[in-house]
Symmetry: C2
Subunit: 207 residues, 2 copies
DNA sequence: CCGATAGTGAACGCAACCGTCTTTTAGGGT
DNA sequence: ACCCTAAAAGACGGTTGCGTTCACTATCGG
């Protein structure tokens, strides 16, 4: 149904070519533009005009697909999210926690992560209701579930203290990373991940 | 114009009270109204008209005092904040941490706490720059410093593990409370404080 | 080759709300 | 008592950006 031969190829971003995409190709460009705008300026500064302009299309194409700005943002995030991946048994809680922490940090520093962070930090009362369930279900919940799995496995294995496999403990990692990202200049590199692991997570769960 | 009976023309529950305040009294009423609006509807829904109306005054009185909505909010928060109180030596790190956690929870559930939480969760890119320094200096920094003091004292006393007196560890408590308040329905009661203490903070710092 | 479908681009209406300004009135200093 | 300043109340203009609509045109299926 779609020809790989696209006229937009490479001879100039704004070369004046007609560039009329349809269906999935256009939708992908719109998502791209929406994530860019969301990442760089936040939800408030992202405008439908801006997205349409950056995607080289018009607002009508947007409103034919989504009823509102919020709907567009949600779909753009969903489309960019990889399916949650299970954590394999790596033999020790330390290795598994390290795996999750470093993976989380990578995601947090990706463009998707920046968009999600921006969005989370910018929800007024009405948007909050709209996005909170989504964020909880797609971001918070899977993370906590994964860590809880690690803790249970470690409890059975013996390298996690008995009784530590509870949601309060599982929440520490995401809470720390988001707190850091939000209030301390956003420096969430691998080094911080190691410190978090060594100073907080491992001491907290050791038997 | 010859009839002096224009005291209060509308639904005023004030009922013939001294409707025309000045100076400090008026300012206090404005702060009150601003905090109310901020708490109930968030920063976006708080409007200058709304604050003026709730304070039974006009916008002119607001703009004579503050250059913008953001300035008003900041002053209202500063005026409502109690001076930071030092943590006394209670003999054990557990007692001192419990003291801080429960104190933090009380503040978080007060009207001031609700206003601060709302504000933190709703900062678009331009406001963020404006408020971030303020929040860090007045909220995040003092809290971390207080906990760091507890950790150092405990380290010297021997009931806190060596090397735990670092900011990453000190940040765990506020990070957890804010994460909870923001993403998990806002249930931050004393019971949760005890669980946080027993499952996270004490295991993390025990020698 | 042709008609249906969908994208383009721009104009418009509309609502919210900021910040200014004006008019009338009350308090309080002197 | 008098006058000056500040307050109350609201009208006003300006900006922003959402969401709609319209005329036109490229692309695709048949």
């Amino acid at each position: 149904m779609d020809q790989p031969d696209r006229r937009q190829s490479a001879d100039g971003p704004a070369g004046g070519a007609p560039l009329r995409r349809r269906g999935k190709a256009l939708e992908a460009a719109i998502f791209e533009a929406a994530l860019d705008q969301l990442t760089s300026g936040g939800f408030a500064r992202m405008t439908m005009e801006g997205v349409a302009g950056a995607a080289q299309t018009g607002k009508a194409a947007l409103y034919r697909r989504w009823a509102s700005k919020a709907d567009l943002v949600m779909d753009a995030l969903v489309a960019a999210m990889p399916p949650p991946t299970g954590i394999p048994d790596l033999g020790s809680a330390e290795a598994e926690l390290r795996h999750v922490v470093q993976g989380y940090i990578v995601v947090l520093n990706s463009r998707l992560g920046a968009a999600v962070r921006t969005l989370m930090g910018e929800l007024d009362h009405e948007r909050a209701e709209f996005f909170k369930g989504f964020l909880h279900e797609r971001v918070v919940e899977p993370t906590a579930a994964g860590i809880l799995g690690i803790l249970r496995r470690g409890e059975a294995r013996g390298d996690v203290r008995k009784g530590a496999a509870v949601s309060t403990v599982a929440d520490v990692m995401p809470a720390m990373l988001l707190y850091r990202a939000k209030f301390c200049g956003g420096v969430c590199d691998e080094e911080f991940g190691e410190e978090l692991l060594g100073q907080v997570l491992l001491p907290m769960v050791r038997p």
